[in-house]
């Protein structure tokens, strides 16, 4: 094996996080105090040693590009290979490809030039710590053409309803991929296969008027590929709605989840040079995540504070997620609220959302 080639395909990811995706795509949504959702997929690929990663984007990717830069935090600022952000920019008049196959077809150079020979293909709605080296070992052991990654969830949640399910036989091979809502093997939108076979399948699909790679080349399996199912058993959160965003964020306040997601192989993200968080004498912080640059004088309970948040003395933040650089002035009370970046909550304001349906404010507002 010569190495992994990463493909992060955002084409299927709908902007369903209301205010949080007004101005950015889902992959760029801030998560867990200091990350963006895409950091998790990128970090997993980085730890697998992927040297070429392409990102198929179609819309609202400006903040994503700002976040990624030339990819230095993920070791992707390479002379050879590295990070390629590939928006739709194609001019082949004979092009007949449609759907997400367009991205692949119109960026063939990326695949031909990349040095790796195994494709890791993912999205960004699943936050996890998949070890692709382990997936690849399993892939080899099974002698599979494709290995899809799934997680057997104990309890089905509303956010799972949008996920495909994977049926696996006793020997670990996939017998069916469908969307039956009561099935517990959730497909994590991640698979690996050899680059040669991947490109072969792409050409076949285009030649047969198909549009979507996973559905048409793998799920419907016209060429009878050997598809293995790799069961991932670690932490996985599906973020595809405000409700799932809120709930999964809050779940990180459980030390077990925090450890699983963060303790080994730290997730990499764009570096900011904020000072460490400061807690004033009046601070009362309990069961919360606090990023750097915060200054806390008030009360913070069951909440997540992103970088550079100010909570003044006498302010209260409960069960809330406060994104970068918000200011909560004294006397303000927030409960079950998500504030997007740069929101200012003025003196003595009270904002209370519902536990299941938090109140979300858009970026750069003052209330």
């Amino acid at each position: 094996m010569k190495g992994f080639v990463g493909v992060i395909n955002l084409d299927h990811e709908l902007d369903q996080l209301k205010e949080l995706t007004y101005f950015r795509c889902g992959a760029a949504v801030p998560f867990a105090g200091r990350y963006r959702l895409i950091d998790f997929a990128l970090s997993n690929m980085m730890y697998a040693g992927a040297q070429d990663i392409s990102l198929f984007v179609r819309r609202k990717y400006r903040s994503l590009m700002d976040h990624l830069g030339e990819g230095r935090p993920w070791d992707l600022d390479r002379k050879r290979g590295g990070l390629f952000i590939l928006p739709p920019d194609w001019h082949d008049p004979t092009d007949t490809s449609t759907g997400d196959l367009q991205h692949i077809h119109n960026n063939m150079d990326f695949f031909h030039r990349s040095t790796g020979d195994i494709i890791i293909h993912t999205g960004t709605q699943h936050v996890n710590k998949i070890d692709y080296k382990d997936v690849y070992a399993y892939h080899l052991e099974k002698g599979a053409d494709v290995t899809v990654i799934y997680k057997k969830v104990d309890q089905l949640m509303p956010e799972h309803s949008a996920c495909r399910r994977i049926e696996v036989d006793e020997s670990g091979f996939v017998t069916d991929i469908h969307q039956e809502l009561d099935h517990n093997n959730i497909y994590l939108e991640a698979f690996i296969m050899s680059k040669d076979l991947y490109l072969e399948q792409v050409n076949y699909c285009i030649a047969h008027g198909k549009s979507y790679f996973f559905r048409d080349a793998i799920q419907n399996n016209p060429n009878h590929l050997k598809i293995a199912g790799y069961e991932y058993t670690g932490y996985n959160a599906v973020i595809n709605s405000v409700e799932s965003y809120y709930k999964n964020s809050m779940d990180l306040l459980c030390p077990d989840n925090y450890h699983q997601l963060f303790r080994e192989n730290p997730v990499q993200t764009k570096i900011k040079y904020e000072a460490p968080a400061k807690y004033l004498e009046s601070a009362q912080v309990h069961n919360s995540l606090v990023a750097n640059g915060c200054v806390i004088g008030g009360e913070v309970d069951n909440s997540i504070l992103f970088r550079g948040v100010k909570v003044e003395k006498g302010a209260k933040v409960i069960n809330s997620i406060i994104l970068q650089k918000c200011t909560i002035e004294s006397g303000a009370v927030l409960e079950n609220v998500i504030l997007d970046k740069d929101v200012q909550i003025t003196h003595d304001r009270t904002l209370i959302g519902d536990v299941k349906h938090p109140y979300v404010t858009a970026k750069s507002t003052s209330l």
């Binding site: 105090g33 570096i271 460490p276 004033l280």
Partner: protein, 376 residues
């Protein structure tokens, strides 16, 4: 190399003996400060913020960590095509090999390096101090005075004066005498170890000083008196603001504690004057339901179950339930078990403190700062 108006030379070879075990295997400029920084971040960030993009860093004592830390300098925006940061350890030469004999000797041995930028002025800095300073303002002052050398000074009390290199000046701040650690100080202007020279003047005096076998090749002791003796134009540049030499365990502890006040004199959170550092990129700190964190600085990667008051926690520190930490500085990666009591201490990097450990609680001297290292 193309011409640069100002080249900075940062003296980072010091051992910092009085920091005891903290500098056992690293140079003083690499010592941690303020929850996330290393001391050298301050002069390097000052350069970056003052638009000085060419910095030579002179290393000698335990340089490996420092070299790796600085790397290509991208964290300070000094990974430049033209200029940037250059690590300059002593090296073998045709004339023979030896260590840097003193601060002036260190610069003398890198004459060719400085010369390659054909600078008008050379800024000499040290990697020992915590301060935020706009060097451009000093450069403007130096040029306005048409000085051969400008030395940045802070006002100290007469009692403190005997610990510093003092500068005796006329009313217009023209320096007539340099007094190293005087018993009877005549002035309250202490040198900050920040010197700005006209390069041609510095160069000729470095060469002159080098020929004196009795010299200790030191800026303060030898070079400045030499310039004064020749009636060169030396001015003191009064610096206003926070400046600390964190050369001892006590002063390092104290400067860390200074950061805890509600509006500290040295604001680390100033978006217009960021202190850049190599980020460990750790997750947001987790403050547990049982935790109390007040009057403290807690960096990312920390997990706090116990009580932290008036203390500084660097990244990746864990504090177990029932533990109480007061008036202390806990360096990166320290794991503190349950029911541990730490008072007025500096706990060195990666230490593991078992459940129930007691540090600094029973003490004979309330002023003493306990230093907890693997060696002690």
């Amino acid at each position: 190399m193309s011409k640069k108006e100002v080249v900075a030379m940062l003296l980072a070879g010091g051992q910092g003996k009085r920091l005891k075990d903290l500098t056992k295997s690293l140079a003083k400029p690499a010592v941690y400060f303020g929850g996330t920084y290393r001391i050298i971040d301050f002069p390097l960030s000052n350069c970056a913020n003052s638009c000085i993009d060419t910095v030579g860093v002179l290393t000698q004592y335990e340089p490996t960590l420092l070299h790796a830390y600085i790397g290509v300098g991208n964290d300070w925006d000094m990974d430049r095509k033209n200029g940037g940061v250059f690590v300059l350890p002593p090296h073998e030469r045709q004339e023979g090999s030896s260590w840097y004999q003193g601060t002036a000797d260190a610069i003398y041995r890198n004459l060719k390096f400085v010369e390659s930028f054909d600078p008008e002025h050379v800024l000499i800095l040290s990697g020992d101090h915590i301060y935020k300073m706009d060097y451009q303002k000093m450069i403007d002052y130096h040029k306005a005075k048409n000085a051969d050398c400008t030395i940045s000074v802070v006002n100290v009390t007469l009692e403190e004066a005997s610990r510093f290199g003092m500068l005796n000046t006329h009313d217009d701040l023209k320096i007539y005498e340099f007094d190293e650690k005087p018993k009877n100080p005549k002035s309250t202007l202490a040198s900050m170890g920040v010197y700005l020279f006209k390069w041609d003047v510095l160069k000729s005096y470095l060469i002159k000083d080098e020929q004196d076998p009795a010299s200790s090749y030191d800026f303060g002791k030898d070079l400045i008196p030499l310039l004064l003796g020749d009636n060169k134009t030396l001015y003191a540049y009064p610096f206003e603001g926070y400046w600390r030499d964190v050369g001892t365990i006590e002063s390092l502890w104290e400067a860390n504690m200074d950061m805890l006040s509600e509006a500290p004199e040295l604001d680390l959170n100033d978006p217009n004057w960021r202190i850049f550092t190599r980020s460990p990129n750790q997750p947001a700190a987790y403050i547990a339901p049982s935790a109390v964190v007040q009057d403290s600085i807690v960096n990312e990667g920390c997990i706090v179950h116990g009580e932290v008051k008036h203390s500084v926690l660097f990244f990746n520190v864990e504090v177990g339930e029932g533990s109480v930490i007061t008036d202390s500085v806990i360096m990166p990666g320290v794991k503190i078990g349950k029911n541990v009591r730490i008072h007025k201490a500096i706990v060195n990097e990666d230490m593991v403190l078992e459940d129930g450990a007691q540090i600094g609680v029973e003490r004979t001297d309330e002023k003493e700062i306990m230093l907890v290292t693997n060696e002690s």
